[in-house]
Amino acid sequence: MSLSDENMKHIVNSLSEEVLTDKLNFEFLKAAENEASRLESGLADLKDYVISGLKQSGHEQKLANFVLRRLPHIKQLHHHLTPEEHKKEPITYIRKSQLAWEKRIWKSLNSMCTELSLPLARKRPDKDFKDMNRKWSELGSDEPNLSQIRPVYAPKDFLEVVSGVKNPNCNDFPLYNNWGLIQATLKVKSLHELRLQYSHMSINQAQSGVDDLTRTPTDIFQGERNKLAKKVIKSCMAGAVQEFLKKGSPTGCRNQIWNSILGIEIGDEEKLYYDQLKNSVLVHDLLVDNLIYKDIKLTATNDDQYFVFEDYLYQVLLPFFRDLVILETIKKSTATPAKSYIRGKLGNEEYAVFYPPNGVIPFHGFSMYVAPLCYCYDDPIMLYYVFRAFYARFFHHLHCVSSHQQGILSLSLLFERLLQQIEPQLFYHLCSIGVQPLKISFKWIIRAFSGYLCSEQVLLLWDRILAYDSLEILAVLAVAIFSFRKTNLLQIQSFQAAEAVMNDLTGLKVIPLLQLTLFSE
């Protein structure tokens, strides 16, 4: 693909703008100063000297990693007259659906406030501040009264919205023959395109998650993978690391590999920032905190894989809902963060604040985005940043109506198309008894399978999300699971029976399933 000059200029501009606001810029300046101070000869060589110094000290590589990380996420170039809202979401009917949906959940959040006579936010009394500070690492033992709190929305509610999104221009003339629920007309990849995209996962290539399943110590594959993993990590080349990850990570190196691709390094600045977020948790009690508490209690606390991490989840999620970095990401997406007004100033923009501060209203199951990460990171601050990076890069697409290729709408459509293509008989059978496959798979996709698969399998799956920089694998896996349970599904006659067949996924090994679906003829 060749880029037009104009496009190229746009990309370079966007990237340099991003670098300037990143802490990388500061680091560079300091390093450059450092180099310059060592210069002995004349000033004439200064530039060359500093540049070669920066190369040697690994800063050039850091810049390359930064570019690699950001490049796929540069917003498309728009004509200067393009309206702001259009830049966020080019397709009008999708934009409208998202707006209507946001209105609905915002209303339901507000009516919960009224019903329970709870404020959206309040300052914590001094005593509570101190209590909470003292108990920061064991918040699970001292929950607020949650009996009245209910999740604002569940995947089921969201599926209704997603399946209701419809192009008003092609009302009664479906452009293609779709048996599924999704009516939006979006372009999604074909099986052939997916095969090319995921070619590294093909059966003739040894994979973590397949070839290391036997835990015999003599396993040559494992040994080799481990050695190679250490080598690429040491190289600090994010591109090489990402390439390596296409075949999955050995469990013992995953945290370093992910850090390298996500560009995560925890220094004083990160610790300070986290502390500020923590402090804002202590100062203000938000209604969303209760939602998070409730969500953790309903999911992770009762989950025999994740209950041990309960206290970490509070330490990650409560600060998360105050993080303005996330707000910036959300603002750029199709979503429009809700605003709340200081009491008595309704409608007065000067007194408007985003609510919750990060612009995200959690759905039931949200905490499961964090839980699997606890198997790789044993430090709340580290966990925080890894989760935040995952969220900003991937997960926020999963609960926002948009035309984005990674968005839930596209993924749902991709799922239905693939299933229809690969398993027409099964799809037809399910439809004929009134079981829409997406009604079963939607909850898996929206949670990126967390809480459905066993944790090790979730991590192997997320390896591939990160390596291929795409959520499309979620739709492929959902199809793969339907294929795998086909024999049983063909025998059932009701939705309940179908749910029962698909209820327990904890025994599945995802990589072989994906391979079967993608690469068998």
Partner: protein, 412 residues
């Protein structure tokens, strides 16, 4: 297909009965002609007592060794392990090697322990070396955390011995003897909480030693955040991982019962600490189990009608060193959760498949090593015969391998 076996059991546990019924075995009374008896330790003791005059025939199998308590009573286990170490040292075995501090490198796997009142003076001497250390007192004859308490001052021990001195002239019976062990005050914490491991080990023979390790063990978590603070020494929800204790707490969760699979633990440790240290931890644990069994193999009556499934309790400290806490002869077969029930059902099923190979009748003259197809979730932990053959083979090659470098897993 062989004839339907006759079984009897003292325990009315569904995980047992369901297994027997699934096999189509026929229930009979303990006085009838049974082939398979899942008995309590008391029953086994009386069957094998001299007075009973009972003789088991070749097609009878029972689930305890006559004097398993050499391993499973807290005081006797310690005594036997201490003797085992001394013996190895006398033989100049490389396994008994010590570090510069005078500690065993490979055999230092139980916390320093004394019997009370017998070793009282020894304990005081040790305590004075480290006057602020914490110790844990456990009654020898009890279980499920009953009667356990922590101390960190000598005065507490003195008070205890005064309070317990009811009849100062009679010798202490097993009932009021205690063991006192150094408290592992730096346990590995996960999510801020203390846990211990329960692993199952099946022994089919002590001489030669043949044992299997069950892959589906679990860790048991405390419900309350751990603190080494001495203010909380009497808060048992912080210190004791027993399910029977934790169940009484407000924070107990009946869905998972505070149990986390060993597989999860492994993924977590590998993911957060790395593969090498995790592998070493599990290897160390396997070795400890083998050593503890070897330590009693000389004193256990190796009756060929017997097999036994032991529950090993292990605590891991924050240096990833495992400590053997105790061995249970009758690990609980009560299920706290549904996955617990499934796991215990499999445990019994897999154990039976090893001691009575499917499709064959019980025959105690077998060589005590099952065919690999019947391992289920077990893996061979140690086979002394096989190890001896390998040692001979290595000698022949002129490379005398040091036992300590060889992991049990190499014999799998």
């Amino acid at each position: 297909m062989s004839t339907r076996l006759k079984y009897t059991t003292d325990l009315d546990k569904s995980v047992l009965i369901n297994n027997f019924e699934k096999r189509g075995w026929i229930p009979v009374g303990p006085d009838e002609d049974w082939n398979f008896y899942w008995a309590t330790v008391q029953t086994v003791r009386s069957i094998f007592s001299v007075e009973s005059g009972y003789r088991l025939s070749d097609d009878q199998v029972i689930n305890h060794f006559p004097n398993h308590y050499e391993l499973t009573r807290k005081d006797l286990m310690v005594k036997n392990i201490k003797r085992y170490r001394r013996d190895l040292e006398k033989e100049n075995s490389p396994v008994s090697e010590k570090d510069e501090m005078g500690r065993y490198i490979h055999l230092d796997f139980i916390p320093t322990t004394y019997m009370l009142p017998a070793d009282y003076n020894l304990f005081v001497e040790e305590f004075r070396k480290n006057p602020s250390s914490t110790w844990i007192m456990k009654p020898c004859g009890k279980a499920r955390g009953i009667g356990i308490f922590l101390i960190n001052k000598l005065s507490q021990i003195k008070k205890w011995s005064r309070d317990n001195k009811t009849s100062s002239f009679s010798a202490p019976s097993a009932k009021d003897t205690y063991v006192i062990s150094r408290y592992i005050d730096n346990p590995l914490l996960i999510g801020g909480k203390k846990f211990d491991l329960r692993m199952y080990v099946l022994v089919t023979s002590f001489r030669p030693l043949k044992c299997y390790m069950y892959k589906l063990g679990f860790s048991r978590f405390c419900t309350v955040k751990y603190t080494a603070s001495t203010n909380e020494l009497d808060n048992m929800f912080v210190h004791l991982t027993n399910v029977s204790i934790q169940k009484q707490g407000d924070e107990y969760n009946a869905v998972h019962g505070g149990k986390w699979s060993v597989e999860n633990l492994r993924v977590f440790l590998e993911g957060t600490r790395g593969k090498e240290v995790t592998d070493k931890l599990f290897d160390d644990m396997h070795w400890q189990i083998v050593h503890s069994l070897k330590a009693v193999s000389g004193v256990i009556a190796n009756d060929r009608h017997c097999f036994e499934v032991y529950g090993y309790d292990v605590i891991i400290d924050d240096n990833l060193k495992p400590w053997l806490i105790e061995v249970n002869a009758s690990p609980s077969l009560t299920s706290t959760t549904s996955s617990d029930r499934i796991m215990k059902y499999k445990l019994i099923s897999d154990s039976i498949n090893i001691v009575i190979p499917p499709g064959e009748g019980p025959d105690v003259r077998w060589n005590k090593i099952a065919s690999r197809d019947n391992y289920g979730n077990y893996e061979l932990l140690y086979d002394e015969e096989l190890a001896a053959q390998e040692a001979v083979a290595q000698d022949a090659k002129g490379k005398v391998g040091r036992l300590s470098n060889k992991k049990p897993s190499t014999w799998k």
